[in-house]
Amino acid sequence: MAQDMKKVMDMVLEKYPAKAFKTRKAHIVVKTEEEPQPVITANTRTVPGVITARGCCYAGCRGVVMGPIKDMVHITHGPVGCSFYAWGGRRNKARAEEPGGMNYMEYVFSTDMQESNIVFGGVPKLKEAIKEAYELFHPKAIGIYATCPVGLIGDDINAVAAEATKEYGIPVLSFSCEGYKGVTQSAGHHIANNIVMQEIIGKGNETPKELGINILGEYNIGGDAWEIERVLAKIGYNVISTLSGDASYDKISNAHTANLNLVQCHRSINYIAEMMETKYGIPWIKCNFIGIDGTVETLREMAKFFDVPKLTRRTEEVIAEEVAAAEGEMAYYRTKLQGKTACLYVGGSRAQTYQGLLRSLGVETLVAGYEFAHRDDYEGREVIPTIKIDADSKNIPELTVEPDEQKFRVIISREKAEQMTKEGVKLGYYGGMVKEMNNNTIMIDDMNHHEMETILGQLKPDMFLTGIKEKYVIQKGGVLSRQLHSYDYTGPYAGFRGAVVFARELAAGLYTPAWRYVTPPWKQKSLLEGKVAGGEA
């Protein structure tokens, strides 16, 4: 692509009023040969008035992290809307653990607060709602999620939860995830992580299993977790829990028995990985199960971590089998997709992980950005000490955990860890998106509609992979858009088989005959025959 990305960046910025210009400039960087590790601003307030894709703290807490825990009843304490929008809107597939087991994914619960509850307080209604939920469903646990007005009127949901826990003998957990907290849904991830760490993980009594792992930040969109687990089980791993795709309360409560944590979505769950390392001694590595190359690399890194000859052999056998099964179709779709260009704007992980998969299909990424990432998601964890904590982040509680006297285990010694690091196992490290990107590409944090439209017009990519709010804008402009939050309701996209599904659908989307009909034939060819006086036909 011969475009000078700095010029594109200037065009994106030129329409902004002075103050907004200054703010947005810091969120848009170009990676170049001279500047391979540009500094980006992230996790700051959205500019008021822009058409943003970002969501809220409640969405991150109830919607992303906690919602998929299938055997809990999640009660949204607030007016009806917040719960309505969390009802099946996010794809996280789940099935009951055993026949007849509990799975509340088809339900949504709320206190449906009315004006009188806002004026006189919502606590009595919340208490009653918990009672009704308990008596109707007898769930494993109940979660209570605060919405904007609850925080403002000061309903003490923590006290209600503590009282209900005593009364009903099941864990009732409260989440102060009012929508206005923080600057994106990321604040909600953090709040959920804290409570999961404090109240769920470590409560189970199972004993550690051999080759036990947790997959953190995997939400089973389109069945991703099931494809990953299929491969891992084939090799011989024990998946203790997935947080939180197809997750059950019991499985998460035993997460501390794993020997390794895999972190898929770094942004939504790195807090838990960090805290589990301190509290239980479980190391973590950043995994990537999107794309065949990513999956292979992760499997090899896992094998190196466990360092058992039989496992290593089995890993290579499975890789060989799975790659062989996928490579024919992948090669075919590569012939269809080679040379195409893409832009990506997704959540807090997929904008990176899909670049590898696209690259393997011959598709070059020109622009990539995250909705709710922090600087480390772009630049890597080495920048964490230099990230300035602003007022909005200060309002999100930071947990400090200590080693658990009974449950802390030395899984690998310090010497072993050092040796592993030398051998290329990146323990507790994530390099961020920038290292994966080519030179002369753009990273945009919190891309808004105006920026997206300018980029579409200037770069004319063949595809823009993003979410529902952007999808139809892009397609009305004649460019293919696939939703990477929901996979457009297919999937899985993860693992070996998922990569093939993704490639097939991307090609199908690009080559659908409908694109040829966008311009009517009569606009491409004159219907009149004969000569225009004084000119050419």
Partner: protein
């Protein structure tokens, strides 16, 4: 599927399960999208705006543009004045709408943000406009939010200049763009000049031309809203979604109004045409009478599949009132009729219709899908009509299912087919009949699989 729902009915006082309504701002956003060159703006934390745009996009499979004041904790404590002022400046610079329609959220309402004062104090470029509506989510539903935004447009913009324009104003209610097109067609065929507010046709069913336009050519024009104050009459279709705006116009500009049912089904469409004829002295054109005759023909031909069958209906109040009447006209029994939106007129009106037809059923406002499912578990129905979320019940209980109302997020093309007018009734009848016949074909004994029905 919905395995945890017990048959035994327990009265709930506090817990809402699987609601049959959503919140006011999404209705306000939808109404604002029906004004040409208007950008809806959500004044609160940005999650609301994101959710609303998502559900509208999923329903219409179209862009749903709106901006947000993006409150964080600071604005929640100190008020959202600075946010809205900055927002308005940025919106005009970046997105250049002619008008910004602000609606509030729970957050800005609870802290008591004073929008009229903010709007008075802000710098608005010449020729541009900012209006607002109060839409806290702890009151009403998406239907009342829609009504409030229509009222907001009228309150800010409509003027009575003393020169009557001879138009009828139409407030179509929370119906889709295809319905708005169909209502406009009926007025055109009747020869009645009109202004429709809002009008999402052309906006949320815009063609694909390969060129994205932020403001497609559809939508009510601002000058039309201004001039609505000079109209001869306002026709409010649906008392819940439309009467509030009509009343405002009467109060502000002395335009009289009539409230009619949303014209779904034969009776409500008859009522609309007869009212229009009465108001204008015009005859009902042969074209519409022919359509009506076609509908009646279809109703008679297919009657054996409807007669005595029971239906459960869940949806928005105006639509449910008219739909119940159509169900009765088809010889069916509206066994359960539910809306999530509060209001007592709903049950009163439908119950009266049922009594007149000698039928009994449960009709309730402020109920949810969980209630309906429990009733169905106790006494099943032959047909379920509701938004997408009804599909869980339909599958759990093996009930033929017709998607209807808002939101329908799991099917394509519904926003191009009207459900209003005689044409819409024919489309609805076809869907209802086919849904029941599909079940029969799927489940009957092989020797009973009929070639002809």
């Amino acid at each position: 599927m919905l395995d945890a729902t017990p048959k035994e009915i327990v009265e709930r006082k506090a817990l809402r399960i699987n609601p049959a309504k959503t919140c006011q701002p999404v209705g306000a956003m939808y109404a604002a999208l029906g004004v040409h060159n208007c950008l809806p703006h959500s004044h609160g934390s940005q999650g609301c705006c994101s959710y609303h745009r998502t559900v509208l996009s999923r329903h219409f499979k179209e862009p749903a543009m709106a901006s947000s004041s993006s409150f964080t904790e600071g604005a929640s404590v100190f008020g959202g004045g600075a946010n809205i002022k900055t927002a308005v400046k940025n919106i005009f610079a970046l997105y250049d709408p002619d008008i910004i329609a602000v609606h509030t959220t729970c957050l800005s309402e609870t802290i008591g943000d004073d929008l009229p004062t903010y709007i008075r104090e802000m710098e608005i470029p010449e020729g541009k406009l900012v209006i607002h509506a109060n839409t806290p989510s702890y009151q009403g539903s998406h239907i009342t939010g829609f009504a409030s935004m229509v009222k907001g447009f009228i309150n800010y913009l409509s003027l009575n200049s003393g020169v009557p324009n001879g138009n009828f104003n139409i407030i179509p209610g929370f119906v889709g763009p295809a319905d708005m097109r169909e209502i406009k067609r009926i007025f055109k065929v009747m020869g009645i000049p009109y202004t429709m507010l809002p009008d999402t046709s052309g906006v949320l069913d815009a063609p694909n031309t390969g060129k994205y336009k932020m403001y497609p050519k559809g939508g009510t024009k601002i000058e039309e809203i201004v001039d609505a104050g000079n109209a001869a009459l306002t026709v409010a279709l649906g008392s819940y979604a439309s009467e509030m705006g009509a009343k405002e116009l009467e109060k502000k500009c002395k335009v009289p109004f009539i409230t009619l049912k949303t014209p779904i089904g034969i009776d409500a469409t008859d009522e609309l045409l007869m009212s229009l004829a009465k108001q204008t002295g015009k005859e009902i054109p042969a074209e519409l009478e022919e359509e009506r005759g076609q509908l009646v023909d279809l109703m008679i031909d297919s009657q054996q599949y409807f007669q005595g069958r029971k239906a459960a209906l869940v949806g928005d109040p105006d639509e449910m009132i008219a739909l119940s009447q159509f169900i009765i006209a088809l010889g069916m029994i509206p066994q359960y009729v539910v809306t999530g939106t509060p209001g007592s007129a709903f049950a009163r009106e439908i119950t009266a219709m049922m009594q007149e037809a000698g039928l009994e059923g449960i009709v309730k406002a402020e109920k949810d899908f969980f209630d309906v499912h429990q009733w169905i578990k106790n006494e099943n129905v032959d047909l379920l009509i509701s938004n997408t979320y009804g599909k869980f019940i339909a599958r759990a209980e093996d009930i033929p299912f017709v998607r209807f109302g808002f939101p329908v997020m799991d099917r394509y093309g519904h926003n191009y087919n009207p459900v209003v007018g005689y044409k819409g009734a024919m489309f609805l009848l076809e869907q209802m009949c086919n849904a029941m016949l599909d079940k029969e074909d799927r489940e009957c004994a092989e020797e009973d699989l009929e070639v002809v029905r």
